[in-house]
Amino acid sequence: MTVIAAVPTSGPGASEQFEQLYRSSAADVYAYVASLLRDRTAAEDVTALAFERAFRRRALFDVRRGTPRSWLFAIARNAALDELRRRRRSGALLHDVADTSSEFEDLDPDLADRRLLVREGLAELAAGDREVILLKFVGRLSNAELARVLRCSESNAGTRLHRAIVRLREVCGVTQ
């Protein structure tokens, strides 16, 4: 698991450590947000907003309440959910659901089929299950960090994660 130092709010190393957090998390945050929103344009806006908020609120970061990575994902999650609420209020439609099936053209056909199957299965999952899978698999958060982001207990986070994996297997037709 990626170990990232705390986000110092001042001092000569503050900017460097925030940049380090950004470089290690930007792609994962974007992937998580884009999977939640299923809209690339909105995901870009929300990702940028999340990093802006994180930079602005770095003084509020408390190392006792979690790692910088879980803190960042919590900010991204709130921003993404706010975007979903805004869309629901305004009745906005999804801008695009990119067709990325060509991404796997160069792969072994079986592997490509499997990845497509998992992607489709993931899209079929309930948003809550999809979120927990993404936070774990893509965000690489520990169960404690997961609990912090989802605002639940660590054991509850573990249970939710396991159930989400089971459902993903079910929709993908994968047997253990």
Partner: protein
Amino acid sequence: MSRNELSAAEREELDALERIIAREPVGERHLELAALVDSVRAGAPRMDPAFAARLDAEVAERTARRRQRSVTPRLARRPGLRRIALASGGLVAAAVAFTIVISSGVLNGGSHTPSVESGLSGTPLIVPRTPSATAAPATSKRSPTIAAPTAGAGAGASNFAASPALHGAARLVHKDSTLTLATSPATMQGVANRIVAATERTGGVVASSNVAIAGAASHASFTLAVPSGHLDHLIATLSALASVRALNQSTNDITDSYNQEQARLADNAATRSALLAQLATAATAAQQATIQKQLNRLEARIAAEHREIARLENQGHTATLAVAVVAGASAAKHAASAGPFTTAFNRGLHALEAILAIALVALAIVLPFALSALALWWGVTSVRQRARERAMRTA
């Protein structure tokens, strides 16, 4: 098994998942899970390179700005709006607290704050130092000063010149004060002796005194007559001897009584002159006897008026101070024999007490606002979080 409890197999799978995430090797039975993780990761949306470059630039710009700020001297930085608001709020609260504390008299020593009452509210206490020049009647041959009276009760009845009447701002007032001090029983006698000594030093006299030393029930009382001009100084001196429990001051304006007596005296003096003239020209012995009788009665009245005027002047120039000294445990610290170190220590203690009072009042002002703001923030946050979770469920 509770809702959140996992079976051993499920827990093992989650442990394996941790190892997969950490890119550590796992057993063969978890290879399927590893493949699932790999597929999810591989299928996760990727950032558009153009967007990634834009975001990189934005973050780099922000952190560079931050770096620049961190090397800027702290004093050169412009304070944030939030800091200004907090500082202003704190200053306002402190100012309000300070005003409240000052107005409640906490700074004057808390429990031993004297309560000063004036029986002549709104009227300035004026003890004239010189008589009004315009007040002197035309017949006056002497002009006694009111501040330093020489005409006492023993003034000769033959002196018929009237004292000047008081007009305008020159008022004759009688001051009457009561002072309650508290000290430890052990220092009661010392305080009593110092009260007598201080009274004599200021030119006053001890009209009556009563000192009883009986442990916790020790007490002393004095009735002091002191020149009005020295009353404040004497009160200040006595207040330093022990803790002040109470101070009451009242004044009685006797200017009108004084002026009326002066007017009566002037009239009688004029009548006496007229009778003397008649006596000198009286033709018969019977007429002389009648006029002499009138003159005798008039002389008696004039003498009584002189005495009354002298009494009023004395009242105006002599203040009465009743001092009571009681035994008090809290006053033990304020021993009459307190040295400069003890005095300084007590003053420091009083200053700390005042600071604490200001802090408490400021807290009392700020706390309700802070709690309201906190409750509002908590409410808004909870509602927003619920709305977010709802959005997630319906996504």
